[in-house]
């Protein structure tokens, strides 16, 4: 700062001098962070940031609970109960802590899948993707370690299931994990290690990885849209400063998220289940929390019982490893989903299977899944999604321009691309974008509903095969088929509406063509 500037600061009012004092020392007005493109002012670009907001809320509520919690098998439950009953806003703290943990896991999953579909993992962001995956595993670790701490019958039984699953891994990995989380194997050692991991090791690791990810983000900037920046308006291609625009936008999202958490906490307050004891545990079905349920449901398939458990764990591990090293598997140059049909289809199948397995797991606690039923439900889901994907690519996406390269998101590239943009009416673009978002959203909902209906139908068929014809199975089958018919009807109507603008399907499908001529 020059002497002239300093003297200016001294002659201003108290507020100005105060701001000047901090600005001199902290460099608040320096351009430390690169500006972000206008198109990134969109909630989908900030799902990871919202997961960090959830982490911060968990940190605050967690520190408050740490003041009263005692990590010993004899005191853990009593101290948790004390928080619920005797601490100011104790139930509220516990509820918010739990629900933000759920939200963090869900947001991390959505962030990962969005990144997968718009292929942000491609050059030069490979390391960023791997760091993000590590952060995702740590988030799951938070869930696993935190779940045990109240020492309830539900949490202890679920953790025992998890520890049992770890023991089935190959010996070097199993030994390391057992040393890390169970120690001598005594309850006191297990809870202390879980507590240590939950409040010290995992937060520290997450913060380190977060710093690394922020550094890489600052180096490469926000990724361009997968379809390329050519179709965007001039305004969308422009840059906005980190402060105040992006900062305030993030604060808005964080406030909305916080408010949603408050409402959910009021609507669904949690109750503390009974304390763990072997006798009480024998009356409960051991099952992990919902975010691990899809893995557990795979392990419950009859073929994976006993020695087959290693194969099941191997399969799940392959999925995780493949997702982690995705940048080195999906090496195509284009980022557009119009070109990456195999990866998009695989991703859609993965999401559908995770959803189906989770809901299925919630509906069949503790039941072994017969092999035929597993093949029907999982195979049927995969087949349906693959057919839907193939149909969409064949009928809808085929004629769309296949744009989208490996954008760096750097301001220089954004500015360069601005020169070649065609003239687009901003109002029309905005209207089309809104229509596109609605259509995509409804399509996703219909796809989800279709997957559940077809799974229900397969499940009912499996029941008939297993237990013979029964009224319940027939009603269940009828309901699923009726639901599927409704979904098919709604999808047809949506396709018809979509086609009013482009006429692509009408030109392809004879029935539509006939209808069009008749109308004319």
């Amino acid at each position: 700062m020059t002497g002239q500037e300093s003297s200016k600061g001294k002659t201003g009012g108290i507020a100005e001098r105060l701001v000047g004092f901090f600005d001199d020392r902290l460099g608040l007005n320096y351009e430390m962070l690169r500006p972000a493109p206008q198109y990134s002012i969109n909630p989908f670009y900030w799902l990871g940031a919202l997961a960090v907001v959830a982490f911060i809320i968990q940190g605050v509520t967690g520190v408050m609970m740490m003041l009263y919690y005692t990590p010993t098998p004899t005191q853990a439950y009593a101290s948790t109960q004390y928080i619920f009953q005797n601490v100011s806003y104790g139930t509220f703290l516990e509820t918010v802590h739990l629900y933000t943990a759920y939200a963090m896991i869900m947001l991390a999953f959505l962030h990962m899948m969005r990144g997968y579909f718009v292929s942000v993992h491609k050059r030069p962001r490979e390391i960023m993707w791997i760091v993000g995956m590590m952060m995702g595993f740590i988030t799951l670790g938070f869930g696993f370690t935190g779940y045990l701490l109240p020492w309830t019958v539900v949490s202890k039984s679920a953790t025992d299931v998890g520890i049992g699953m770890m023991s089935a891994l190959p010996p070097p990995i199993a030994n390391f994990l057992n040393f890390l989380v169970t120690g001598s194997g005594a309850d006191s050692a297990v809870i202390l290690r879980f507590y240590d991991l939950h409040v010290v090791v995992l937060p520290a690791a997450l913060l380190l990885l977060l710093a690394l990810k922020m550094y890489i983000l600052e180096t490469h900037g926000v990724a361009d849209p997968a379809r390329g920046v050519e179709s965007l308006t001039e305004k969308k291609k422009g840059l906005v400063p980190i402060f105040p625009d992006v900062t305030f936008y993030l604060l808005e999202l964080a406030a909305l998220f916080g408010s949603a958490m408050m409402l959910i906490s009021i609507a669904f307050p949690i109750n503390l289940p009974p304390e763990y004891s072997p006798l009480v545990a024998s009356q409960y079905v051991s099952q992990p929390d919902w975010y691990f349920l899809w893995i557990y449901q795979v392990l419950k398939i009859h073929i994976f019982e006993g020695p087959g458990l290693n194969i099941a764990l191997g399969l799940v591990s392959v999925v995780f490893v493949a997702l982690t090293v995705l940048p080195f598997i999906d090496r195509g140059k284009s980022r557009s989903f119009l070109v990456r049909k195999w990866f998009v289809t695989l991703g859609a199948i993965f999401v559908a299977e995770v959803l189906v397995l989770t809901v299925w797991g919630l509906e069949t606690p503790g039941k072994i899944i017969p092999n035929e039923q597993a093949v029907l439900v999982l195979g049927g889901t995969a087949l349906l999604v693959a057919l839907f994907s193939a149909g969409t690519y064949r009928m809808v996406f085929r004629r769309l321009p296949k744009t989208g390269s490996m954008g760096t998101g750097s301001p220089s590239v954004t500015v360069r691309a601005a020169g070649a943009a065609p003239a687009v009416d901003p109002a029309m673009t905005s209207s089309l974008k809104k229509a596109g978002l609605w259509t995509s959203g409804i399509f996703v909902l219909l796809l989800g509903a279709g997957v559940f209906c077809i799974s229900g139908a397969f499940s009912a068929m499996a029941k008939v095969i297993e237990g013979g014809l029964s009224a319940g199975a027939l009603v269940s089958f009828g309901e699923s088929m009726a639901g599927l018919a409704l979904v098919a009807l709604a999808s047809s109507y949506l396709l018809y509406r979509l086609d009013l603008g482009s006429g692509m399907i009408r030109r392809k499908v004879r029935a539509f063509e006939f209808g069009w001529r008749w109308k004319e």
């Binding site: 806003y89 105040p244 406030a255 408050m262 906490s265």
Partner: protein, 100 residues
């Protein structure tokens, strides 16, 4: 006679944006004051706490949204503003209706 400084009924949200921000600031102050009046041990007190904190967050988000759009001279969504105001009113209503 038209009072000096009064707002015409035909005023757009962009025109009254700054006044709306001031109003939201007052709402936020009221909700913060209310947070200190609650019984923190009862379930009703905890519910009211969550409601008023929700009001606080939403008011802040609306203020930030209005400020950002006014500064950048961008249109303000009436739907969002009305939805936010209704949410705040509903939270206050439920908060006041809770048995003490």
């Amino acid at each position: 006679m038209k009072r000096r400084g009064s707002i015409p009924w035909s005023a757009t949200i962009e025109e009254i944006g700054e006044r709306l921000i001031a109003l939201l600031l007052v709402v936020e102050a009221i909700s913060v004051v209310l947070l200190w009046t609650l019984n923190s041990y009862t379930s009703q007190g905890q519910t009211a706490f969550a409601l008023y904190l929700g009001v606080d967050f939403i008011s802040f988000a609306m203020m930030s949204y209005l400020y950002r759009n006014l500064e950048n001279e961008e249109p303000i969504s009436r739907l969002l503003v009305i939805a936010g105001c209704l949410f705040i009113a509903a939270c206050f209503f439920v908060g006041f209706a809770l048995p003490s």
